[in-house]
Amino acid sequence: MMIDKNKGLPEEILNLPESSFEMVQTDEIKDEKFKTKPIGFFKDALLRLQHSKISIISFWIILSIIILALIVPNITGFTYTEQDLAKRNLPPKIPGLENIGIADGSRVLTNRKKDSLSDTNRYPEGSIIEIVREYESKGVAMVDVKVDAYALAGIEDDVYHWFGTDYLGRDLMTRLFKGVRISLIIAFFSVITNVIIGVIYGSICGYYGGKVDMFLTHFAEVLDGMPYIVITILFMILLGSGMLSIILALCITGWIGTARLIRAQFYRFKGREYVLAARTLGVPDVKLIFRHILPNCIGPLITRAMIAIPGAIFSESFLAYIGLGIKPPEPSIGILLSDGQSVLLQYPYQTLFPAILISVLMIAFNLFSNGLRDALDPTRRGEE
């Protein structure tokens, strides 16, 4: 609104009370008080993480798989080593689901002589559910028959192998979750080792720079260039196959990425004015590294470690799959997959369950670490 004083003021402006025109700011004007509550870095990151639904779901999936891995092998009533050749290759049988025709422990046997069905030694009473197909081959009456595999093997009715059994009659669910447990242990330990080595190595490279950095970086590159399968095999020969040699194998080159990341972060942050400011205050080197520079690497570091976990699980599976896994009878996801694929056509469930689990695990870890990366990104600080 533009007002020309000479032409007279509009009523509502002219009639403002005198009291409106009292000076009110006689004291010294202070800085405004904050209206919000103080919030720490991690709390802030957590808040933002909570806003990402996918991360939360992934987190719960990961947590439940971990809990299952801890509990399941102890409550199935079977052990992962318990063999019973009579029970080999049993299909899944799950209480509840069996009544609706899924996972009821049945299997279709093909190319059976029709006559043999009446042989109660081979087909105990109640083991035959239905005849799927009848046909004739070379003048002999043949059938495909759906049987209750559990009854066929002479097992009591109340025995349930949820995920079935393998070729040695071991309970697959017990072995799967025991395997998850072992795979996760291998992954966590190798990642933690990698992070520790990487942080120390990268910090030294990045903080001191110059010749030290040049030498160490070249050394890492040489190591990175070596074919790691060969090194893994050497470890196996030296230490025998076992968890330790797998973890070591995953650590040979695994830390190099972390070291590079940390080194880059150091180069980025060591020239920052607040690091210089701390130096001019006389803050010693160790404190500079751990208090001023490293905390800035935590975000990318956590993210990287999180992404590395499914990577390590996958690498372990890969090694197991090509026969470089841990020593039997210890299971791991990779060993289960490897065993399963040899009977993939006859008993697909033996591959199915470990495959689903490793997929879910890897997707969940990846999505969760994406969410973490966004939440820990300092440029998005203070949003929301």
């Binding site: 904050f34 103080p38 006389g282």
Partner: protein
Amino acid sequence: MAEESNYILEVKHLCQHFSSGRGKNKLLVKAVDDVSFGVRPAETFGLVGESGCGKTTTGRTIIRLYNPTSGEMYFNGRDIAGPMTKDLRRYLTDNIAMIFQDPIESLNPRMTIEEIVGEGLRIRGMKDKDEVRARVHEMLEKVGLTEEHATRYPHEFSGGQRQRIGIARAMIIKPKMIIADEPVSALDVSIQAQVINLLNDLKEEMGLTILFIAHNLSVVKYFSDRIGVMYYGRLVEIARGDDLYRCPLHPYTKALLSAIPEPNPITERTRKRIDYDPERDHDYSVEKPTMVEVAPEHFVYCSPSELEQYQKQLGL
């Protein structure tokens, strides 16, 4: 340069060369080249020049963020240019503190204000948390912030407030001297005065010596007792602020003064800018230039013939 030892900080023939590349590609940058000046106790010495002239490097070399290539530096008579020992680092950091340019960059985003400001005390062995906190609160009060601000993180503050936090961090260890590197140039106009006034108050109250580094000659002139003008790594003129403004001698100083826009439409419309071209303005093929005291407290980097001309100009 006068050999008086009444300087609290004395810099003699300081050189800071940076090299990059190797062999044929080796590039030598003389960021600071044969710079000498002295700062008296409780004085503000302004270092002014354009970007890349080496003023920031000079400040950072004095506080030994960089190791000098050559030259001498003395603080209170003690050599501070020598090899870096634990003792020297302690001496330097106890006596000289620095204020940085960028109010966002210069505070650690992962630390609270209390941790940032109190760090100087903690690394000096103050263990008692309550004592640190009390000192931090006292210092925050002094820079116009409140106790309530202590638990906050830097990103919650405005530029001016952050710069005041930076000042509090520098002042809490009670240094004898402050190196202020462009402390206001990243701030909004309305905020700059807050920071300048604060620095002025602290200077009076604590008898501080300040080395004030900036590119804005108006601010340097307002703030400093004496001013050194730098051009491409060299100090070309040192004088008291008024002298420098009234009778600048070195052609670069003249050019710099003539380029500053003043908030006055009358003078601005008629302003004549003076160009500086070292090739054209100096003939150093025969006579080599040196730093000469032309008049009391007024040093110029010039050759003997230029000196004569300058003296004439001053009516000496």
